[in-house]
């Protein structure tokens, strides 16, 4: 009886707000079509995907694709390892750089110079990944790249960057930091702007030096924000930027051992038209792990600080 009443009230409430319902429909439909339907597309993981037959026409094959993945476990382990390790590397160094720049700019915000410099530092975020790959090539290319030119003027042997896997973790790190350091520091800067200035005044009266003020006031103030951001980023541990790992590396086969991540692998499979069934299996694996990570991270964040939880 009570339940009946409740349902009625939901329906009657919806009927009362027909206008709201109408305004929600386009957004709802878009999400349904382009966020929910792709999940159905992952059913291809259980199919023997055939380009001519399409998604619906292909034959079911049970867990055959997953068996294939286990069989080619060298590749599977490699891409998962690369994804996770790069996540750790980029997040750690990236966060340190972001916080560092935020503090630098904060110490300099009183004048216009700091503001304009920060504006310039943010700009690389808005340069497309394709442009970044062009720029990277201008620096690293074999014959006419700038770094090799400099090396040869100093009489050192030139390095074929695009053929030497061992340098790529550093190259990708530099590119990532270059592109993200300014933009990433914006949220920390906004957190710093919220610090009560009387804290600094009190410290000054007590005779604290600038480094001491940073060490004992600024950094502790950022601590919770940093940990929350890292926790939230943990939800994307199985994801990587295809711009960085597919475009900047120019999808070079020789470099796969140190550069290919799950997303770059999927991108390569999609553009080269290789077996989509097993690629779907990889994606499904990635999505499930990602889902587990997001849910557990959210649980952690909620325990730490309710306001910052995603849901």
């Amino acid at each position: 009886m009570g339940r009946q009443l409740k349902r009625d009230s939901l329906i009657s409430n919806t009927c009362k707000h027909k206008g709201l319902l109408m305004m929600a429909i386009p957004g709802f439909a878009m999400m349904l079509l382009f966020s929910y339907m792709p999940m159905v597309g992952l059913l291809a993981a259980f199919k023997e995907y055939d380009y001519t037959l399409g998604l619906l026409g292909s034959e079911w094959c049970g867990f055959e694709n997953f068996r294939l993945l286990l069989e080619s476990k060298d590749i599977t382990i490699r891409i998962v390892r690369n994804t996770v390790l790069y996540w750790c590397l980029l997040t750690t160094v990236g966060t340190i750089m972001n916080v560092g720049i935020a503090i630098l700019i904060y110490e300099c915000t009183a004048n216009k110079f700091g503001k304009y410099s920060h504006m310039i530092m943010i700009f690389p975020t808005f340069v497309s990944w394709i442009s970044v790959s062009y720029i990277a090539k201008a620096f690293l290319n074999d014959g006419n790249g700038m770094i090799n030119n400099i090396l040869s003027t100093f009489g050192m042997t030139e390095i074929s960057w695009y053929l030497t896997p061992k340098f790529w973790p550093i190259i990708l790190l530099v590119v990532h930091v270059w592109k993200n350091c300014g933009y990433g520091s914006v949220i920390y800067l906004s957190a710093l702007a919220g610090i009560d200035p009387s804290l600094f005044e009190a410290a000054e009266i007590d005779g604290a030096s600038k480094p001491q003020k940073i060490r004992f006031i600024t950094l502790p103030m950022l601590k919770s924000m940093v940990s929350i951001n890292i926790l939230l980023a943990l939800g994307g541990i199985m994801h990587s930027n295809t711009g960085l790992f597919y475009q900047v590396t120019r999808n070079t086969g020789i470099l796969y051992s140190t550069t290919q991540t799950i997303d770059a692998y999927v991108m390569n499979a999609l553009s080269s038209g290789s077996d989509l069934g097993s690629t779907a299996a990889v994606t499904l694996f990635q999505s499930v792990i990602g889902c587990i990570m997001v849910v557990s991270v959210n649980w952690l964040v909620r325990r730490k600080d309710e306001d910052n939880a995603l849901f």
Partner: protein
Amino acid sequence: MLCSNIQTSASVKNKKIKRVTFSQLLLRMFIGIVALICVLPVVLIVIVAFSSESSVAEIGFSYIPKEWSFEACRYVLKFSDQLIRAYGITIWETVFGSLLTVFITSMFAYVLSRRDFKLNKYLTKFVIFTTLFSGGMLGSYLINTNIYGLKNNLLVLILPHCVTAWNTVVMRTFVRSNVPQALIESAEIDGAGEIYTFFKIVMPIMVPVMASIGFMSAVSHWNEWQTAYLYLDSENYSTLQLVLIKIEKDIDFLRKNSGTLSTEDILALKDIPSESARMAILLFSIAPIMIAYPFFQKYFIKGITVGSVKG
């Protein structure tokens, strides 16, 4: 005695001021260097685009070319058909993509912000779930090509990423904290319909957040390459980023397959732009962002600071 006392205190004061400015100067120099490092790679594009082909061929990529020239820019300004079309399609994508995003997302977010609409409990869950699990690039590809028939259809550039959970939540938070409930209620009492209330009363208040999300969306549309790369393979449909990818692909292909011809011959034969011409095309693709950036950067920056406050 008194006089000398005053003098010493004055000199101490002077010294103190001097020391402060010195450390500030050091700080500013350091920030300046970081900003310079951030902007130099982009400057390289400009310099190479304005240096002559022979200079690039002779000394490679360099900040100090042997010879300046407008040759490369003239090449681009001749605007081959393909380039004009790519420019047109990219502009179309950017304008309509971001307008559609802002329009649909703002309506959806407004509905979600209404606490008196009971369906919201489910709609919010519906939106949040997309952050937990997704079909990824592959799931979208399979659905978009097999079921919606979006392969080689320009709509694929604007539809799939139109409504995202992130943008919706950011906008909803904004409405909740900036539009007083009483305003909506009084409009209702005055007899305004739901849709009228939204467009005439709520939307004007939402302008700042709509601008932020609109500009962010416009930049991401302008820089978008994945969708174009995966879905558009017809000669006629090409975005700027895709043109850049294709040029590099042709070069890689020729390098791998040419044993007999010299590079210049091949470039002439295949009508592939030279290094400086390529940089000029790149410059033309970044230029709109470079020009717009100083004017709109506050919206870009607001985009993430608004998002970091969750409701």
